[in-house]
């Protein structure tokens, strides 16, 4: 099986290049991460990428696979056209090979106050929440911060410092929708203005790539609706 992998190490390379690798004996059901690990172990120890859980829950190994962002650990190689082209997530500074600098992405996450805010004194036991209220968080809380969505979003590429991007906005929605949270007004007010939220042009790239099947576009739409209702 043939691979073309983006290589760049600022220590030694003047500029990035694509390197070819070939693996024999592909086991059935092999994921791209397993293939990359084999390349690293058997062919080229210097190939660098992040990984941890190997099962799509930690969000470490977001990368661009044959032109689409995804997690290497849950992308079966058999389903990919060869040579499989693997690049770092687009639009972010490359640290080395498939590793990008995610600082901006994390900053935007932090910017939406991604934590529950409760102003009343806390009860001795749990804050009550009905199963229906809780269900509103399904599709929002499962985000693993892999960055696949934001780095596939054209609005994010063009205004990374102003548009918060789908991942951060999904988080904003996760707290806006939480029946326990008591900062709705501040949260909505924080997202006012032409950029932070409204730069989303519903291009839906984010939805297509999210490896957890989440829908940031819908979350963004829901926030917009809430803002409209609130301003009435």
């Amino acid at each position: 099986m043939k691979f073309k992998v983006y290589r760049y190490n600022p220590d030694v390379d003047a500029k990035p290049y694509m390197q070819d690798y070939e693996l024999e004996d592909i086991e059935p059901g092999m994921m791209l991460l397993a293939a990359l690990l084999r390349i690293k172990d058997e062919l080229d120890e210097t190939l660098s990428f992040r990984r941890s859980c190997g099962e799509g829950v930690c969000g470490s190994d977001g990368m661009n696979i044959n032109g689409t962002n995804g997690l290497a650990c849950i992308s079966p190689v058999a389903e990919l056209k060869q040579p499989i082209e693997v690049r770092p997530l687009p639009g972010q500074p490359v640290v080395r090979d498939l590793i990008v600098d995610m600082d901006q992405f994390y900053q935007q996450y932090r910017a939406v106050k991604p934590y529950l805010i409760v102003k009343d004194p806390m009860p001795e036991v749990e804050l009550p929440q009905t199963p229906e209220q809780r269900e509103k968080l399904d599709g929002l809380y499962e985000c693993i911060l892999c960055g696949c969505c934001s780095t596939a979003c054209p609005s994010f590429w063009w205004n990374p410092d102003k548009f918060l991007g789908p991942a951060a906005l999904l988080q904003a929605s996760r707290f806006i929708e939480d029946s326990r949270d008591q900062a709705l007004d501040e949260r909505l007010a924080d997202l006012e203005g032409p950029f932070k939220l409204f730069r989303c042009h519903t291009i839906m790239n984010c939805v297509q790539v999210c490896p957890k099947g989440l829908n940031p576009t819908k979350a963004i739409g829901d926030i917009k609706k809430k803002m409209v209702t609130r301003s009435l």
Partner: protein
């Protein structure tokens, strides 16, 4: 060399480290959290089924029953003061998490959803209890993200993607911080701290087939051993009954809690024979042995009869989608089957490090000094899977680890706050200890050297050896050979090399340092297992099939310098009567 000073250095940003960090930041002390991965990528994120606490939301329950189950589950090797402390603190720990924002699943009355898990009973061994608080089957994710989020709010100082190499000390052996390096650019920093908390998680990468993430390499355990601290009870490694056969991904015990059950090649519900009462919800060691026995005796499933099946389809798609969406996805992705229609092939899989760095219930690391079995090491704490308090003894109950990391993460932080009030100044570092740590790091800079084996080759061999020689069933011969093989691998590791000498995000170097740590864990595990001539909990010897309380109701301590030593179990609880050892039937 750059130096930074903090009140507390926390190594590890999983649930244990983050819970402690939050407590310390909120107490206005200065905390540095060092993690080799971005915090939400820590392995706590993978925990599925949930966390135990006697809330009585679903079945009548109380902490004393929880305590009994935990002591029994531990096969009487758990320390009963720590177990009492943990079970009493559990409800509060859950409510705190809920207040931090954890999106627990809910019952119709608005309270937290609880599911039955293995080894849980009401009334000291009576009916099945439902004690495990869950956020669907993504409880670890929900907890880890909420804790990280609260730490953002509390402005905790993070060193993301920094690797901790070794502990640093003064001349008297007080622990004063650690040598770390920035994985991004290789910059080395000495972090000086009045208190250091190890929260580096488990060592599941010791085995070839494992439910554990690739980062679970027992680094804190290696650091402790190299600092002269013995590791406790390392022979007790938990094999989870239901890893996906041959692949290792975990299928949570919650799947059986929701009503799933195991069948063998003859289509028989096998657990009815091994645990007539608790059946599929017997303790993990019991269920794992049952599966391994079925397969050994030729009653496995599949063309090679090398696994059994976990049946869930009778639960219906709605229940599976609501309560077990994550494992449904995992099965579809990795096996191409939907558990709502097809049973899942499973086999016991390396899962949890019961042993670890010995601590007391305040999280202080304790070592034997002369006649005192447990003397605190000044400045050093440990919490979470890397620690051995010991609440799990010889076998951990499902749902008790998330509880352990949160309760003792918090307890350690509280003790640290007291310690800081009494010890206001930084002590003077022994420069020799920095040199020693530098040596361990720079040992991998071998410019120009081209011979020597590769790290990946040695690592693969080590994992295969551990799987073959230190698995569910053990005996004298197999263990003896295992000891020799691991010793030999440890010698070979001294001459291993890496080609990658870049200072930028050098993952080869990280993996090399991780293998140094894994090797330490392997030595401790195999030596302790070889020496223990009884069967207890997860340590099951074919040649010594009985538990031997007279000789072996004691904790093993393994150190690099002096090999094995033992200390008594703390059988005296804090306030209630001790649970004396009894035969374990489920």
């Amino acid at each position: 060399m750059k130096r930074r000073q903090f009140d507390t250095l926390i190594i590890g940003a999983g649930g244990g480290g983050l819970r402690a960090a939050l407590q310390l930041s909120n107490a206005d002390t200065s905390v540095a959290v060092v993690s080799k991965v971005f915090p939400t990528r820590s392995h706590t994120v993978a925990a599925q089924g949930g966390m135990n606490a006697a809330l009585s939301n679903v079945t009548q329950d109380n902490w004393h029953w929880h305590m009994f189950d935990t002591v029994k589950g531990s096969d009487y090797l758990g320390d009963q003061d720590a177990i009492e402390y943990m079970c009493r603190a559990a409800p509060k720990a859950v409510y705190e998490l809920e207040h931090f924002g954890v999106p627990f699943s809910r019952l119709d009355n608005g309270s937290i959803y609880q599911r039955p898990f293995g080894g849980q009973s009401q009334n000291f061994g009576g009916d099945q209890a439902a004690r495990t608080c869950a956020a669907a089957d993504r409880t670890g994710h929900a907890i880890l993200h909420s804790l990280y989020q609260q730490n953002i709010h509390a402005k905790t100082h993070f060193f993301d993607e920094y690797f901790a190499v070794d502990l640093l000390k003064d001349e008297e052996g007080h622990v004063l911080g650690a040598l770390v390096f920035n994985i991004h650019d290789g910059e080395i920093i000495v972090i000086e701290a009045k208190t250091t908390l190890l929260a580096t998680g488990g060592a599941g990468q010791l085995f070839r087939t494992t439910t554990n993430a690739l980062i679970n390499t027992g680094d804190g355990l290696g650091m402790a051993l190299r600092a002269g601290i013995p590791l406790q009870d390392m022979e007790f490694f938990q094999f989870h009954p239901t890893g996906i056969a041959g692949r290792g991904m975990l299928i949570t015990e919650g799947a059986r809690g929701e009503g799933g059950y195991l069948v063998n090649g003859d289509g028989e519900r096998l657990m009815e024979r091994y645990a007539p009462k608790a059946k599929d919800l017997a303790s993990r060691d019991v269920v794992s042995r049952a599966i391994a026995t079925e397969v050994r005796d030729g009653r496995g499933c599949g063309p090679n009869k090398d696994h059994v099946m976990l049946k869930l389809d009778h639960l219906g798609e709605a229940v599976i989608q609501k309560r077990l969406p994550g494992i449904r996805q995992t099965c579809i992705t990795f096996l191409g089957i939907d558990p709502a229609e097809t049973p899942i092939p499973v086999f016991p899989t390396a899962h949890y490090t019961m042993g670890g760095i010995p601590t007391n219930r305040y999280g202080q690391v304790v070592v034997p000094v002369k006649d005192t079995p447990e003397e605190p090491v000044f400045g050093l704490y440990a919490a979470g899977e890397c620690a051995c308090v010991s609440v799990h003894g010889a076998n951990r109950l499902g749902g008790n680890s998330l509880l352990d990391i949160l309760v003792f993460g918090r307890a350690a932080a509280n003790h640290i706050i007291e310690h800081l009030a009494e010890n206001r100044y930084h002590l003077t570092m022994d420069e020799n200890s920095i040199d020693k740590a530098m040596e361990n790091l720079q040992r991998w800079d071998q410019k120009g050297k081209t011979d020597g084996e590769s790290v990946s080759q040695l690592r693969d061999e080590l994992k295969a050896v551990m799987e073959e020689h230190c698995s569910v069933f053990r005996n004298e011969d197999v263990l003896k050979q295992g000891v020799e093989k691991v010793e030999q691998l440890a010698r070979r590791l001294k001459d291993a090399r890496i080609d990658d000498q870049s200072s930028v995000f050098n993952t080869a170097k990280v993996e090399a340092l991780e293998l140094d740590n894994l090797m330490c864990c392997a030595l401790a595990t195999i030596h302790s297992a070889y020496a223990r001539t009884e069967s207890r909990g997860a340590h099951s010897r074919m040649d010594y099939t009985e538990r031997d309380d007279k000789h072996w109701m004691r904790h093993s301590l393994y150190s690099l310098e002096s090999g094995l030593d033992y200390k008594p179990v703390r059988t005296k609880p804090m306030s209630v009567d001790s649970f004396p050892p009894k035969p374990r039937v489920y």
